[in-house]
Symmetry: C2
Subunit: 380 residues, 2 copies
């Protein structure tokens, strides 16, 4: 294998595939990056078994030469050293050669590296997905879906299925739902599908996979194609191939958790409410989950308080845009409400309560596609 | 105590005094920030016994009102909570009140915090320095002196005196010297002093104190006054008072370590040399101290190499601006040479060797006031 490649393109690709590489893998060769040179260009692969990422650098694109003088072949290089070496090379062009003993030579200007590589045929083959179950979204739309739900997945392994985001298609919309059983985040995306083009339910994507994917895909109008099989999901852009395993098991039915009536409704400015709760939680650091109390007052006022005897107490008075229904005293995890408010870009939110011990709902005022459900904490 | 203060000024002062506050102190009250309100303004103090920092916010400055409605008094607040609270307050103006039970109330807009404070009279008194031993430098000059030497202090406590920077006055110049016994960094600053104005030697300032000071003082043309007593040093700007203990013991005489002749001299471009050594050290991560080898070649060429059998090897070829004297093969810690080259702003350096086992000297070509001495490593 031999080729000359533009360093900047190579650095981008390395950064992408490194997102899948972990030093804690059971198959030693997976601590490396697979490099494959073909007449079309250079492909890098990284994998930790759960996530596999391929990044392709075409020989030529839009009249720009990315790679040249290609002799086909492949090799696996150590991910611990390769990225730093490429990043620090002195010139824009890099020559990479692998001999039959998997010795890799990297040359740029006066710098010459010889790295012990490994046989690429020992690298696990990525499964090839055969499916018609696919859907195409804009990058920016998928990033929103991820950002608005993935924070609510469970981080503990007691119910592994909850560490994933449930993706399902129902009634003309694509829905992402995540819950850790204390709070739930849900986002609907209305889509038009041709019949039979797409059919799946109970697809549960590991939260970690979506977080890594979100870091790689650019926030733009390009499109990404999602394909699903029984146990894997593939996200594919022009030069990127992101494969993740799906979680086993049945995702719980969450729709019945969502109350369909409310006793108290609060209308508030998203940012003001977020900041008041954030401040109220400052002294609640010591107690588990940063519990704060919220109480409705006269004249559309809210009072948010917390109290840690050894430190002190906070009282936040907040003017709302309106409070309807019963008086309310409720305690909740400041962290959960802050997480929920943070992903709401709309200026105003509506919060619906059905009593101090029942879950409450946070929604942007002018967007019915986002719903956040939070369970209160018993303190009163 | 009561006053209303501009939040931004208060945040700056808090950030300064926080540099001296540690959660690992033996005197519990030192985990707090002392606040003193007087008719002139507000003074904050932080201390960990080794370093004490006072930051003063004048009531009024350049026609700007920083603090008003001041009722004199003092209190100590918990440094764990106070900075976050102030930073997150909703309005620009903050009211701070302490009652006779040291209960502190912080109000801004709809936010009201009640914090348990402590009696300021229990806070250790900072010593008042009485000395005529003082010298005034520009901030930017002092920052240079610190930056060019402090990185070479010892980080291990086997010889505590080496964890400090030796400041001395000799032959019309102020000298900063630091060494960890493997390398030495020295910076001279020619100064003119009136007779008897200033007299000291064997002043050893903890490296940590200088690093913290360097973070606080701004890189500008303002001046800073340095006063020295037997066991303390004070750095004073208009509104800042930075006091550090000095290290006990005699600083070793370092001037005799510096060779006065050389057998091989290399002239090189600072940045090129730095980058080549940095790359050569990439594969030497595993061995202690990142040892690399340097060898002079024909035609003013240098070869810098490293070799870690289980990983691979690097060969860097570098054109110099000239090599004079004997051929040379030498091994050294890449880290030490990188540290030394990094603080040199001049484009070119001169490196003087007196043999493979003798310390070598790195100096900027056009600045005789910086000298870096590095001991080689025996590998050949």
């Amino acid at each position: 294998m031999r080729f000359i490649i533009q360093r900047d393109q190579l650095i981008d690709s390395i950064q992408h595939v490194m997102k899948a590489i972990s030093s804690r893998v059971t198959i030693p060769i997976l601590t490396g990056i697979k490099i494959e040179a073909s007449s079309e260009g250079i492909k890098l692969t990284g994998s930790d078994s759960d996530i596999s990422i391929e990044s392709f650098i075409p020989k030529e694109e839009n009249g720009m030469i990315h790679a040249e003088e290609i002799t086909e072949g492949s090799v696996v290089v150590q991910a611990k050293y390769f990225p730093d070496i490429i990043r620090k090379l002195p010139l824009k062009a890099v020559e990479i050669v692998a001999d039959t003993n998997f010795q890799v030579t990297i040359k740029s200007g006066g710098a010459e590296f010889h790295l012990n590589g490994q046989d690429a045929t020992e690298y696990p083959q990525l499964p090839v997905l055969h499916t018609d179950n696919c859907i195409t979204l804009k990058n920016a739309v998928l990033k929103d879906l991820i950002k608005q739900t993935v924070f609510a997945v469970s981080t503990v392994e007691t119910r592994p299925i909850l560490t994933g985001v449930n993706m399902k298609l129902e009634e003309g919309s694509l829905n992402f739902v995540a819950t850790d059983s204390h709070r739930l985040a849900s986002r609907k995306l209305p889509i038009e599908l041709e019949k039979k083009q797409f059919d799946f339910n109970n697809v549960v994507i590991p939260g970690k996979s979506l977080s890594e994917l979100n870091k790689i895909i650019e926030d733009n109008e390009d499109t990404i194609t999602i394909s699903v099989t029984e146990n894997q999901i593939l996200f594919q852009t022009k030069h990127l191939y992101f494969l993740s395993r799906l979680l086993d098991g049945n995702y719980p039915e969450t729709s019945r958790l969502i109350p369909d009536q409310s006793k108290t409704v609060i209308y508030a400015k998203t940012k003001e409410l977020l900041q008041a709760i954030d401040r109220a939680s400052l002294l609640a650091k010591e107690n588990r989950n940063n519990v704060v109390k919220l109480q409705t007052k006269e004249n559309h006022q809210l009072e948010i308080t917390s109290n840690t005897p050894e430190v002190g107490e906070v009282v936040e008075e907040l003017s709302t845009d309106g409070i309807e229904g019963d008086e309310l005293k409720i305690s909740f995890s400041a962290k959960y409400v802050i997480d929920a408010l943070r992903i709401i870009e709309e200026e105003k939110v509506k919060i619906e309560f059905t009593g101090a011990m029942r879950p409450f709902i946070i929604r942007p005022m002018e967007n019915q596609h986002i719903l956040q459900l939070i369970l209160p904490v018993r303190t009163y």
